[in-house]
């Protein structure tokens, strides 16, 4: 019995070694498994910025009084808006908006300063480019807030009272609200699923195309040993990718590492079990590499979208929010964000770990059973 088990380990190790060599020998695959994660982390870290600032604004100052200049300067000084151009007429500003040069036009009519000094209502017009609703909301809010605050100040000074209520915000974890610390844990979830699911699915489909799976079956290697041996290199590469992303994240983007790394490691292993299992399932359902690849994509794209990596889950419609409960990426993204940013550990994250474990065991188990039936 022990001898048989010992021989099993030897065969498993032999398969793992062969897979490891085969993967590493193809420089291009190694390039893809190592360089692609790097490129993605850097791109996502630098290109994705949810903070809307420096919105290009056109100024049409028809008043040209000290008051109009003062308010335009102070409004454009807070960083949300940027003075991109000044026009003589509103029509010229709207034409610039048509060409996409400005996203906001501030129009002050003649008489603005005089109205303000005389105590009449001074009116400002803000015209927004609504194509990007997010940017339009933030730019519109910046203009409304500035003039609202000035109006409240002026009203208070005229009536001689202070505003009765005041809100004092205190922001936890990420006080300057930078995007990379939020984005990079999401990139991790996305990257692992792209690398492991699609590479596994295509790798096995390729063996089926070339008929080498059958050849291995003639040898004493059992299907389960073959499977475990094939999965090992990807597990190792997946963990390596996690370290790589964390290193780049801390060096380039000041990604905090506040929580328990063992919890992150355990979560990663359970998550990899799921993504490898899905790759395996897809490969058993497809005959060619092209089908395996498209199948992988059909899973990966919606899974990434529903994981809340790019946009918050809480902004999705209710029905879609329910679907996200079925998305393993969601739990891994939550887990890595909570560990890295919020310093959470097993005490807070046991639900996510449990869910990842359930997905991992169920999916990998089903995939392994199919694989065995197919070869057996």
């Amino acid at each position: 019995m022990t001898a048989a088990r010992g021989a099993g380990w030897v065969r498993l190790a032999a398969v793992a070694r062969k897979e490891w060599l085969q993967t590493l020998r193809d420089r291009r695959i190694v390039f893809m498994l190592v360089v692609a994660p790097l490129v993605q982390t850097v791109l996502f870290g630098y290109a994705v910025d949810f903070q809307v600032d420096q919105v290009p604004a056109a100024v049409v100052d028809g008043d040209r009084t000290p008051e109009s200049r003062l308010h335009l300067r102070r409004l454009l000084a807070d960083g949300t808006l940027r003075r991109a151009a000044a026009f003589e007429s509103g029509a010229a500003a709207l034409a610039a908006m048509d060409r996409g040069e400005v996203a906001l036009a501030l129009v002050l009519r003649p008489g603005f300063g005089e109205d303000l000094l005389a105590g009449r209502t001074a009116r400002v017009q803000a015209v927004l480019d609504g194509t990007d609703p997010n940017r339009a909301t933030v730019a519109g809010a910046a203009a409304s807030r500035y003039f609202g605050e000035r109006a409240a100040e002026l009203a208070a000074s005229r009536a001689g009272v202070e505003p009765p209520l005041r809100l004092v915000p205190r922001i936890f974890y990420n006080p300057s609200l930078r995007t990379p610390p939020y984005m990079i844990p999401g990139v991790l979830a996305m990257l692992l699923v792209v690398v492991t699911t699609i590479v596994t699915a295509m790798g096995l489909a390729r063996e089926r195309e070339s008929g080498t799976l059958e050849q291995v079956l003639v040898t004493p290697v059992a299907p389960m040993e073959l499977l475990a041996g094939k999965m090992t290199p990807f597990l190792v590469l997946g963990l390596f990718d996690v370290l790589l992303v964390l290193t780049v994240g801390t060096l380039l983007f000041d990604l905090p590492l506040r929580g328990s790394l063992p919890v992150l490691g355990a979560g990663t292993l359970l998550y990899l079990l799921t993504t490898l299992g899905i790759g395996l399932l897809i490969s058993t359902a497809s005959r060619t590499q092209q089908q395996a690849f498209l199948g992988g994509f059909l899973f990966v794209l919606p899974a990434v979208l529903l994981a809340g990596v790019v946009t918050p889950i809480s902004s999705m419609p209710r029905a879609l929010q329910l679907v996200t409960w079925l998305d393993p990426l969601r739990y891994y993204a939550e887990l890595s964000r909570a560990v890295l940013q919020k310093g959470a550990g097993a005490a807070e994250l046991w639900p996510q770990l449990l869910e990842l474990a359930a997905f991992g065991i169920a999916i990998f188990g089903a995939a392994a059973a199919r694989f065995r039936r197919e070869l057996g």
């Binding site: 291009r28 695959i29 893809m32 490129v39 791109l43 290109a47 910025d49 949810f50 809307v52 420096q54 290009p56 908006m97 996409g100 303000l116 105590g119 209502t121 001074a122 017009q125 803000a126 480019d129 609504g130 990007d132 997010n134 940017r135 519109g140 203009a143 003039f147 000035r150 109006a151 009203a155 005229r158 009536a159 009272v161 209520l165 005041r166 809100l167 915000p169 205190r170 922001i171 990420n174 609200l177 930078r178 939020y182 790798g203 060619t288 590499q289 092209q290 994509f297 059909l298 979208l305 946009t311 918050p312 809480s314 902004s315 419609p317 879609l320 909570a338 940013q341 919020k342 310093g343």
Partner: protein
Amino acid sequence: MNGRLSRFATRVGAMSFKEALHVRRDPRTLYMALVMPVVMLLLFGYGVSFDVDHLPLAVADGDRSESSRALVRAFTASGEFDRVAEVDPARADDLFRRSRAAAVLVIPWGHARRLAAGRPAAVELLVDGSDGTTANQVLAKADAIVRAEGRRLGPAPASAPPLEVQVLTRYNPAGRSAVYLVPGLAAYLLAIAAVLLTALTVAGEWERGSMEQLFASPVGRLEIILGKLLPYLAIGLVQLLLVLAVGAAVFEVPIAGSLWLVFALGLLFLVGMLGQGLFISVVTRNQLVATQAGALSSLLPSMLLSGMLFPIENMPAPLQALSRVIPARYLVHGLRGAMLKGNGLAVLWPDLASLALFAVVIVALATARFRRRLA
């Protein structure tokens, strides 16, 4: 001369026919090429929105007075916040770690008394800053609610407000995300499908060894490239039609400008993307590597550097420079201009010209790198 041209056309046609047969024999590919974009469009259109409401708000009410309850009601009555728990402010961290609350409203003891005495009352808002988008919205919404509540409590306002801002929104006055996203998504979905489908074809011929048979035939390099391109171009145009039709039917995305211009932009973009796929395929000669390279070179740039989701002008200068060689950038800009703003050729010709330039260069590169030699 005429004879040569007609022989050229015959051979390109034969290659296309062969490629179309491949696609037809494997209906799964076609199914996925046409069903995936629609599924993605529906998911993105319904799922992607940065506008958050019903934010989970925990309350730490140290005052327990009529005034403090009125303030909490002002938060929940708007629909922007849902009250999820009553907590001790010291435990806010624990709630955030479990993602149970996005913010904690702390009303200190003596709130009602200060208000009654006419002194300013400060309330604290603890915000989970880990998700910057949500945190920004929490801050903006809480600010507006407290300001409105302050006005309600304050003295009766003077007859006329001293300053008033009037906000007008053009092109997409309702601020619907789908209207913004569909033109961007068209670029994203076309790029993925076009690059990836063609990335596999030439690499597949090399792997299966059928490339040698092609070499034995009189078909030339450019003829092989063009022949492989045409059937996928047809699929791509059908995809574009599908995306536009679903966008118009489901999300009421307008086409304010010329439909011909939209298709011209789409056609040039598709040729460029198909050329990029072929180029990758010709260089790698391996399906696995070709797909990874294809995904990396089409999916990421078309999503991140095209301005589809994130404004290009906010990126660091090197990435802005890089985005200039990404065709998706010009398609996204062109489609938004033509569909939402009703721009014509006068505004959009630089986009058309850039897309055409990319298409010509990449097809020429693919042809040049394609050697009629065995490895």
